[in-house]
């Protein structure tokens, strides 16, 4: 697990930027998760079915079995909510950033903007190798290695408790 050292020194602007990045990514994922929970018809089947690229068979395979699809849907929804809430509130952010990176990597691999692949999923832009999922994934890595929750976030309460012991 990323050993983002907590002894990193941040300038005021560095800390502000990192915390803002953490909260915005947290907001984004949390709302994505909530929106899926609120929509009773949501399923990842369409996204998985439209999978392209070298791992397409694996992703499509996930959607073909109803039980497996149910598990994937639940993991996705609750994963987004837990990761999002953790980043937003600043609690267990390393764990959250680690799994967040993994989740975004899966999204990227399911539909990579590779040469010669015309994605069936409408995108709001044109991409070549790099898309917004990949950028958010790398931003998540930044959060993993530049932690801030012990400074701004609920983790700070925990530190207080430790220091009180």
């Amino acid at each position: 697990m990323g050993n983002g050292s907590t002894d990193t020194t941040y300038s005021r602007f560095q800390l502000t930027s990192l915390v803002a990045l953490r909260m915005l990514i947290g907001w984004h994922l949390l709302y994505e998760g909530i929106a899926k929970i609120l929509n009773p018809y949501w399923t990842s089947a369409g996204y998985l079915q439209a999978s392209q690229g070298p791992f397409a068979d694996w992703f499509v395979g996930l959607a073909t079995n109803p039980a497996r699809l149910g598990l994937v849907d639940a993991l996705n929804k609750w994963g987004l909510i837990l990761i999002g809430a953790a980043l937003l509130l600043g609690s267990m952010t390393r764990l959250a950033a680690f799994f967040g990176t993994l989740l975004l990597l899966l999204y990227y691999l399911a539909n990579p903007p590779l040469l010669g692949l015309e994605s069936a999923i409408p995108a709001e832009g044109s991409y070549l190798f790099v898309n917004k999922v990949l950028i958010e994934m790398i931003a998540m890595l930044v959060l993993l290695f530049f932690p801030t929750s012990h400074l701004i976030g609920l983790d700070r309460l925990k530190l207080r408790e430790h220091s009180n012991e």
Partner: protein
């Protein structure tokens, strides 16, 4: 948290990052006091909580305004949000007695309907099992094996082509089937009369070319044998009158092969029309666009087809213009009026029956048809481009059918009302009219946005489908290849056969019974007659004739 991580979590006072300008309570500590919960300290720990609150508030606002809109729309429409389509259960009792099934005509469609009844030859089950292994998107085999076991025994097969007949016999003993039950080898009969006279069948599936439908069905009805007959009911108007009279007199359970009757989306569409959500409907547009040779009935000719393997004389016995042996005319019979009615009986019949299912239209007052053989100049005499306009003055409605076999543009099936339009395919989409009288106030209040669907209904939303060929895409988009029951995928043909078998066992009627079949046949024949006579034709409800 692992131990070393906990160790890393040093108290903020130990961090040398305090060059950030956010002050900590370290000054307190430096004074030797216990670390406390200073206001600044709490502020740092809980800084993101207000952001979290803002998100929660935003979600609440967004969903409650969405809920309010939905509530208003549903209130206006008189429907509930989760109102499911009414799905009639085909067989209410478990099958308690075995019925003996015969098949007359085991070609392409015959094999498909027989799969709906639970029988397939080993070459098909092997091929589909392999296809499913190779491509996880392919659900054909799983869907088939998941069908209900209808407790039928395939006892009798009649086909004029030896290869197909042998295939039918192979299907009878193939235990790879829904229910996995083994059964005896079926018997082959050379003629349908021998099959019907054998005393070996209670019910038959008739999937011959159209020119044989009425003869086979009438002969079965006379013997009290129940019939599932493929569309179009007959080749001519005269045959339609005769076969309908025979079925009514015999009182057998009859089902015409319009499996769209089992489509969940069509049931939902009917519900929407019954609630008058579209307002007065004045125009219904139905279409066929296909653009591949198979879609234009240029089917493969089996390599073993020859005068020795095909009983050509019997095939031609029901044709108005018998010719010498022609494998093309045997396998591609849909291209000639001698055997069928082309687009009218083959594809318009599906479109019409779907609209008849949704709107209970019945027979139109008049029909005008035109078209021609514009693309497939392969010797066929049925048009490959065909347009029909039907008038229903009593319903204040025009029904249009527009077809080409040389363009694949998806045009769908659209019902146009004064207040909304509805597109029906494998799902249903209703879009409000900008100039609707009924929804005017909701559009003004911005509760309804005419650029967004007012209602959408997608059966079997939670699953994925794979269709392979262009012609399959065409059928799938019309809900003719698969539909759903309780989220489970089914072949509608299976549900259609099941409904028929259920009515034989438990009484009741079928959804495409003799009355619907008559309406279908006459409506299709009005289009054909108009095309062949080169003028408008009308239906005389008194003499019950096309004039």
């Amino acid at each position: 948290m692992s131990e070393d991580q906990t160790d890393e979590m040093k108290s903020p006072e130990e961090f040398p990052e305090e060059n950030t300008s956010i002050e900590s309570s370290s000054s307190d500590d430096q004074l030797g006091r216990r670390p406390g919960w200073g206001r600044r300290e709490l502020f740092r720990a809980l800084a993101s909580v207000p952001v979290f609150g803002a998100l929660a508030y935003g979600v609440w606002r967004k969903t409650s305004s969405g809920d309010e809109k939905r509530r208003k729309i549903f209130e206006e429409l008189g429907v509930t949000g989760d109102a499911p389509a009414v799905i009639p259960e085909a067989i209410s009792n478990p099958p308690s007695e075995k019925l003996r099934l015969g098949v007359v005509g085991y070609g392409g469609r015959g094999q498909a309907v027989m799969r709906g009844a639970g029988f397939a030859p080993t070459e098909w089950t092997d091929r589909q099992a392999e296809a499913a292994r190779r491509n996880p998107r392919n659900q054909t085999f799983d869907t088939w094996m998941g069908q209900h076991d209808l407790n039928l025994e395939l006892t009798s097969v009649c086909d004029l082509f030896d290869v197909y007949a042998e295939r039918g016999l192979s299907a009878s003993t193939n235990s790879t089937r829904p229910g996995n039950r083994e059964q005896q080898l079926a018997k082959r009969y050379r003629t349908y009369e021998e099959l019907l006279d054998s005393g070996n069948v209670d019910l038959i599936i008739c999937a011959t070319p159209d020119h044989w439908h009425s003869r086979v069905t009438m002969a079965a009805a006379e013997r009290g044998i129940h019939v599932y007959c493929e569309k179009c009911l007959t080749r001519t108007e005269q045959e339609a009158h005769e076969v309908i009279a025979a079925i009514r007199e015999a009182g057998i359970v009859f089902q015409l092969g319009h499996q769209n009757r089992q489509n969940e989306a069509h049931m939902k569409a009917k519900e929407i029309c019954e609630k008058n959500i579209l307002g007065p409907i004045t125009l219904v547009e139905t279409t066929t666009n296909r653009n591949d040779p198979v879609g234009a009935w240029v089917y493969a000719i089996h390599p073993e087809a020859n005068p020795q393997t095909i009983d050509w004389a019997q095939y031609e016995a029901a044709s108005p213009n018998p010719t010498d042996f022609s494998a093309e005319r045997f396998f591609r019979w849909r291209c000639w009026f001698d055997y069928g009615t082309g687009l009218a009986g083959d594809l318009l019949s599906h479109e019409y029956d779907a609209v008849n299912q949704i709107l209970d239209l019945g027979i139109p007052a008049s029909a005008v048809a035109s078209g021609g053989v514009y693309f497939y100049k392969d010797g066929r005499d049925v048009p490959d481009t065909f347009q029909v306009v039907y008038e229903y003055p009593e319903r204040n409605l025009t029904l249009i059918y527009s077809a080409t076999l040389s363009n694949g543009r998806g045009r769908g099936k659209v019902l146009m009302g004064h207040d909304a339009s509805m597109e029906v395919g494998n799902g249903v989409t209703v879009i409000a009219e900008g100039q609707s009288t009924r929804y005017e106030h909701l559009i003004d209040e911005r509760v309804i946005d005419p650029s967004d669907p007012l209602l959408t209904y997608r059966p079997g939303f939670r699953g994925i489908d794979a269709v392979t060929t262009a012609t399959e895409q065409y059928f799938a988009s019309r809900g003719l290849l698969f539909t759903y029951r309780g989220g489970r995928r089914f072949d509608p043909t299976h549900l259609h056969v099941k409904e028929w078998v259920g009515a034989i066992r438990n009484g009741g009627t079928t959804s495409c019974n003799v009355d619907r079949a008559f309406e279908e046949a006459i409506t299709c024949h009005m289009a054909t007659e108009s095309y062949l006579r080169g003028r408008k034709v009308t239906w005389d409800p008194v003499t019950k004739m096309i004039v």
